[in-house]
Every structure is written in structure tokens, then in C-alpha cells.
């Protein structure tokens, strides 16, 4: 499961939904891995305004990953003027001519899309429910009395 996905998952229990502490879920006993994935700065530009930046920052702290800045960058921080370097020729998604992705774009791609949680659990700070993660798949099935 990509760290990106963790920025959107909340506790699924009905009683937790209205509570602010039902997001984000907190990883525990996490095994992380890296997967090589096509670089799409256009996707990042689309998703960036939707990220919960404090949650992303908190996640990096909890996982012991190099942190992100305090301030959420705007989409314009993902591009700069210049020729597309050879190393970026295989990017996917449409980007503006004469622009190339910045280092921040590469870093965010690595963090959000290429870093995955393989094993462990996701814990709700509100109710304490633990969602198991196995082979990168989180189990969100709830016993019927918790739905």
C-alpha cells in the first residue's frame, strides 16, 4: 500500500467517522518497501492540493522517514523552467512544454507512490481498532456490530 493511500484512509467504524481522531490511521510494526513506479508529475500536481499535509508529516515521523517541510507546497513547486533531462524522458502524464519536474516532485513521487507498507497494522487513535496489513493489502472488513 502506497503511503499516498494512507493519506486518505480513515477508520471505517461508524462511531469513529465523525471524530477528528479517526484520521489519520497510525502505522504500527510496519515493514516498508520500495517499488519502482512510473513517474507522473502530472498526477502529483492533481493530488497535491488534496493531501493532508500535517498527516503526511506525522506519518513520516512515525515511520522514521526523512521528513517533509512544515508548509504544504503549492502545485507550482513541482515544476521549473527548462528542458526535460534524459533521466526524465520516461515520465508519464501530460506536462507543460518547456517545464521540467523539480527535485521536490521526484522526492514526493518517491515518498508517496514508491514507498509502500507491506506488513503491519493501521491503528485508529479514536477507538484503537487495528486494521491488519498483509502483503500490502489492508483488511477493512469489520465485524457486523462495529459497522
Amino acid at each position: 500500500m502506497k503511503l499516498l493511500t494512507l493519506n486518505f484512509l480513515t477508520c471505517a467504524r461508524k462511531a469513529c467517522k465523525p471524530l477528528p481522531t479517526s484520521f489519520p490511521l497510525h502505522p504500527a510494526d510496519a515493514t516498508l518497501a520500495t517499488t519502482e513506479t512510473a513517474f507522473s508529475p502530472a498526477f502529483l500536481r492533481n493530488i497535491l492540493p488534496r493531501l493532508d499535509w500535517p498527516a503526511l508529516k506525522g506519518l513520516c515521523d512515525e515511520l522514521g522517514l526523512p521528513g517533509v517541510g512544515d508548509e504544504a507546497p503549492g502545485p507550482e513547486a513541482l515544476f521549473e523552467d527548462g528542458e526535460l533531462p534524459e533521466s526524465d524522458e520516461d515520465i508519464v502524464g501530460e506536462i507543460e512544454a518547456g517545464k521540467r519536474p523539480t527535485k521536490l516532485a521526484h522526492d514526493l513521487h518517491q515518498l508517496l507512490v514508491e514507498t509502500v507498507m507491506l506488513e503491519g497494522k493501521l491503528v485508529c487513535a479514536s477507538c484503537g481498532h487495528e486494521y491488519a496489513v498483509k502483503e500490502g493489502i489492508a483488511n477493512f472488513l469489520l465485524p457486523s456490530h462495529l459497522v
Binding site: 486518505f8 480513515t10 488534496r50 508519464v92 500490502g136
Partner: protein, 271 residues
């Protein structure tokens, strides 16, 4: 012909052998691909998007989202959820690019507000019309599903659910549940009146109350809005097209598969 939902609940019906057979059957693959392309065209996505796939199974529908070329506004990133661990295990084996969640759409979705640009569901929603236990009813499950889907889409986001309604009553029950959740809804039928009819529920979150205009503006689309009935359109098989596109992307190294130490290994996810 009996309907699978009448035989067993989905997590038991889609067991290991059935999930494998489903995914390798070339006729099924062709049909799922063409319906996914149809759903995708109804979403009209113009930029690489985050898409939810409900009842994603082994990833036949999702992988089409991953392979939309740059020139067509892709590729899209998707999160798939499914109630069958065996289907998801096949998806893992196939190394699909989307993230996978084991979840019951009838329990509601655990995503924060405005997560997704769009959502698709291919051949899954009819399963929600069967209560899984004596404690819940089909309308309750449909309500939890559509209410949470509405929230998890960004404003103006679209969802397209292709499903196999048992009859007119069930079709209406599903569409009504979506409308009550706040969606603007339209039903579209390819091959209406034939055995191969395909029903698409086209939804918009918080845009217009009437999506008839959206579906009517599209080529080859028939609108079934209970006010008129017209002749059905044919869905062309796009299989060759997809395969060609996929091969081209792979040649260019554009679809980079996850490199995992599990490559090719048989999967069993024991929760």
C-alpha cells in the same frame, strides 16, 4: 441461468479456483475490458487522476485505468477494494499497479471527504442487493455504500457503476439509493432488450441533479431515463486496441511493474 449472488456470498463464491478461472477466461477478460473502457469514457477524465475501483477483484478493470496513455489524459492511479481475499490474491500475483483493500462496500467506505477524482465499479454492485446476514438489509447496504461513495468523491466527481440488475425493481432500488445519497444519476443501457444488455449507472457528486445531458451528449450512448426507449447501440470489442496500447507502453517502459520479491509466487493472504 442462476445468478451467482443467489448461490453464495461473494467472498465464498469467489474462492481460489473460481477467482483463477474468472481471471484467465479470455471471454470474461474481453467483456470486462470493454465495459471498463465504456465506463472510463463516461468519466471523461482529462488528467492523471485518483480513481476508486469498487469490487476490483483481480484487477481486470483497474489495470485498464493504469494503461490509459498520456495522450488520453492518463495514466490513472487507482485504489481497488474487494470483499474476496482470493480475488485480491490473484491481483497480487498479477502485480497490478493499484493499491488493494479487503473491504465490504456494503459496510461503507473508509476514505476521507473528497479523496477521489472519480470511481468505477464493474460487475459488482448487484452483489450489494443481497443481504449478507440476517442483521442487515439490501437497502441498508446500498445506503451505506452510496452515502460513503458520495463523500469520498470530490465535488463534481463522477462515478460509473456497471452492474447486472436482476430486474426492473432492482435497477430502480440501486438508482434510488444513489439519488438519495445526493448523486445526480442517469441509467444508460448498451444493447437494451438483448441478452447481452449492459447497464451503467452514471453518477455525479454535487454538480447537476440531472445527468441525462451528460450521457446524451456522448456518441453511441443510449439514455434510459424511463421517459423514452430507443434502439440499442453496440459496444465494439476494444481488446486488440488495449493489448496494442499496453504492448506499446511496455516497450517504452512506461508501465513499470512493481518489483517485488514475491514475483510469480503463489499468494495466499491469511487474515
Amino acid at each position: 441461468m442462476s445468478r451467482p449472488e443467489d448461490i453464495l456470498p461473494p467472498d465464498l463464491y469467489y474462492n481460489e479456483p473460481t477467482s483463477k478461472k474468472y481471471t484467465t477466461n479470455s471471454r470474461i477478460r474481453t467483456i470486462q475490458a470493454s465495459m471498463t473502457h465504456r465506463a472510463l469514457s463516461l468519466l471523461s477524465l482529462t488528467t492523471p487522476s485518483l480513481v476508486l475501483d469498487i469490487g476490483a477483484g483481480s484487477g481486470l478493470s483497474g489495470q485498464i485505468l493504469s494503461s490509459v496513455p498520456t495522450s488520453a489524459g492518463g495514466p490513472h492511479t487507482w485504489i481497488g477494494l474487494d470483499i474476496s481475499a482470493s480475488m485480491l490474491a490473484v491481483a497480487l500475483e498479477r502485480e497490478v499497479e493499484g493499491d488493494l483493500l479487503l473491504a465490504d462496500a456494503g459496510q461503507g467506505l473508509g476514505f476521507r471527504a473528497g479523496t477521489f477524482d472519480a470511481a468505477i465499479s464493474i460487475s459488482a454492485v448487484q452483489w450489494l442487493c443481497n443481504a449478507e446476514s440476517s442483521e442487515e438489509t439490501a437497502p441498508q447496504r446500498l445506503k451505506r455504500f452510496f452515502d460513503s461513495l458520495y463523500v469520498s468523491l470530490k465535488r463534481g466527481g463522477r462515478a460509473v457503476c456497471q452492474f447486472y440488475p436482476r430486474d426492473e425493481r432492482q435497477k430502480k432500488m440501486v438508482a434510488d439509493a444513489a439519488i438519495r445519497a445526493g448523486f445526480g444519476a442517469g441509467l444508460l443501457e448498451d444493447g437494451a432488450g438483448t441478452k447481452g444488455v449492459k447497464v451503467y449507472l452514471v453518477l455525479t457528486a454535487g454538480e447537476t441533479g440531472d445527468i441525462t445531458g451528460v450521457v446524451e451528449g456522448m456518441e453511441g450512448v443510449e439514455v434510459d431515463d424511463h421517459r423514452k426507449k430507443r434502439q440499442k447501440g453496440e459496444v465494439a470489442s476494444r481488446k486488440d486496441d488495449i493489448l496494442r496500447r499496453k504492448a506499446r507502453l511496455e516497450r517504452k517502459g512506461k508501465v513499470v511493474k512493481a518489483t517485488s520479491k514475491y514475483t510469480g509466487r503463489k499468494r495466499k493472504i491469511a487474515f
